[in-house]
């Protein structure tokens, strides 16, 4: 009798101590199955009905518990995989393919980022179609049909094809005026002021900030003298911005508009270089830059860099 208990106890607890964890579950499952067909006859041999009954009950419960554990483990794995997959696909293609709005570009291109920022601000569902620059895809006829200048990005919205990131942002801002953030002023006079500062970004901020960025990223050679000259030009522009931002909350007016948005990609990269001190030296510019870079729509754009 006591021998029977000892054998039973050994058989019950040995796998738990040795294996544990999920492997133990599988082991348990197999062992339970075997034990039901070995121990039961054994217990009959021991001829103690209560012992038999408790042993069978115990093994059955282990068996059921293991099966339930396996099923729930599988379910949790399935859930976490599908949730992370849908988050991934939502970030890049927002739901499914064959969206009406397609942006052809690549993550890391400032101009593509500019267009992406406007799409996220306006909460427009779109698909990003990556153009393989390394394979010279942007110079092949199929892409040149979308942008004869062979540059990214290009937008496709149903029948409409557009290139130039600043034309794309304006198109998106107008077409989806009722969705998301208002990026274009409604009032004609306010719109005119906004347009002035959009041109300032285009003509004054972009050329110098772009060159500084290219030098900092070692895409273009530029010695100390060249950098100093460019930083002087940028400082002159930022001086005007500093004054403007004392009179107006944002560059284009009292609310965030494309006049601010167009700056963000170059600003983002410059803030990672030593040129950031030019922005930090001017309190209103500094606050404005921090505001722009912390916008949720922009954070969605930069999170794509991590894929």
């Amino acid at each position: 009798m006591r021998g029977g208990y000892i054998i039973t106890a050994f058989v019950l607890f040995y796998p738990r101590f040795v294996y544990g964890g999920s492997l133990g579950l599988v082991e348990d499952y197999l062992r339970n199955f075997l034990y039901l067909y070995i121990i039961y006859p054994l217990s009959l041999f021991i001829q103690h009905k209560i012992v038999c009954f408790t042993i069978i009950l115990h093994f059955s419960s282990i068996f059921i518990a293991s099966v339930v554990q396996l099923i729930s483990l599988a379910f949790v794995l399935y859930l976490s995989i599908s949730i992370s997959l849908s988050i991934v696909s939502k970030e890049i293609s927002c739901c499914h393919h064959n969206m009406a709005v397609k942006l052809y570009g690549f993550v890391g291109s400032n101009a593509t980022f500019r267009a992406l920022a406007s799409l996220y601000e306006k909460e427009v569902e779109f698909e990003l179609v990556t153009v393989n620059m390394a394979a010279w895809e942007h110079r092949r006829p199929r892409f040149l049909a979308r942008n004869p200048f062979g540059q990214v990005p290009a937008l496709e919205d149903g029948d409409v094809t557009l290139f130039e990131s600043r034309a794309i942002t304006q198109y998106i801002a107008r077409k989806y005026a009722n969705k998301g953030t208002e990026l274009i002023m409604n009032d004609p006079l306010k719109m005119a002021i906004q347009t002035v500062w959009m041109e300032v970004e285009n003509q004054k901020f972009d050329p110098v900030s772009w060159k500084l960025m290219e030098i900092a990223m070692h895409r273009v050679r530029g010695g100390e003298e060249v950098v100093a000259e460019l930083e002087k030009k940028l400082s002159d522009v930022l001086d005007v911005y500093e004054t403007r931002l004392t009179e107006s909350k944002y560059l284009g007016g009292d609310s965030f508009t494309l006049a601010d948005l167009h700056h963000i990609p170059n600003l983002y990269y410059l803030m990672m270089t030593r040129s950031k001190r030019l922005f930090h030296a001017r309190p209103h510019v500094r606050a404005w830059a921090a505001d722009l870079l912390s916008r949720p729509a922009w954070l969605k754009v930069t999170s794509m860099l991590r894929w």
Binding site: P148, F149, V160, L162, F163, E164, R166, A167, Q170, Y171, R174, K175, P188, L189, M191, A192, I193, T195, V196, M198, E199, V200, N202, Q203, K204, P207, V237, V240, T243, R244
Partner: protein, 220 residues
């Protein structure tokens, strides 16, 4: 409009002439206030109040003060949709998008090399500055690539944004005028059939001829 609008700056400036041709296209009366760059009038505090970068042009009407020539042109085109040449900035969003696209192409791709070439070939000699041969060569190469693209485009449509004359074409007038008429690089444009045809059409518009007259008038 009781008072005519005011434009500040010399007509010889490419940016100023861009605004002037737009006002003429829209039949909007204006007065031109000369700003002598030589005398540094563009850097005086009074002027800096209306143009904080100290550049020309600046624009004033009874409602607003503006700067940046392409912003001024868009304002004029939108404010007077039924006056003068219609559809300069599009009558519907799709056309507007196409115009924006070619306006941006002008800003980003055509303007930089053509400006540098115009400065080096026309203004530098006038100002007795030494020409930078390497810079000229580099920018000519860039401009050639852009004009090849224009050649294709203008084979598909009469004007850049479509079959109507728009701000996208207008914006090209100032720099091209200098390169075609005041340098020996006219063949960059005229050797290309479609570009040549397009230039002939847009430069012979009465509005542009009037601006050229203003530019050639005896110095103020």
């Amino acid at each position: 409009m009781a008072t005519p609008v005011t434009v500040y700056g010399p007509p010889l400036s490419t940016a100023v002439s861009r605004v002037l041709v737009c006002l003429l296209e829209k039949d909007v009366p204006f007065q031109l206030v000369p700003i002598s760059m030589a005398k540094g009038e563009h850097k005086k505090p009074d002027y800096l109040k209306i143009q904080p970068f100290g550049q020309v042009p600046a624009f004033q009407d009874d409602e607003i003060t503006l700067f940046e020539s392409r912003a001024i042109c868009r304002y004029i085109a939108d404010k007077y949709p039924s006056k003068g040449t219609m559809g300069l900035f599009g009558t519907n969003p799709l056309v507007k998008a196409s115009i924006d696209q070619w306006l941006e192409a002008e800003s980003q791709s055509f303007n930089p090399p053509s400006s540098i070439l115009a400065f080096q070939l026309v203004f530098a000699p006038r100002m007795k500055l030494k020409q930078d041969k390497a810079l000229i060569k580099q920018n000519e190469a860039k401009l050639v690539k852009v004009l090849d693209i224009y050649e294709n485009r203008l084979g598909e449509s009469r004007y850049l944004a479509g079959d109507e004359f728009t701000l996208a074409d207008l914006s090209h007038l100032p720099n091209t005028q200098y390169l075609v008429e005041k340098t020996n690089r006219a063949e960059l444009f005229m050797s290309r059939r479609n570009v040549g045809r397009w230039w002939d059409e847009i430069s012979s518009r009465p509005s542009w001829k009037k601006v050229v007259e203003m530019q050639n008038a005896p110095s103020q």
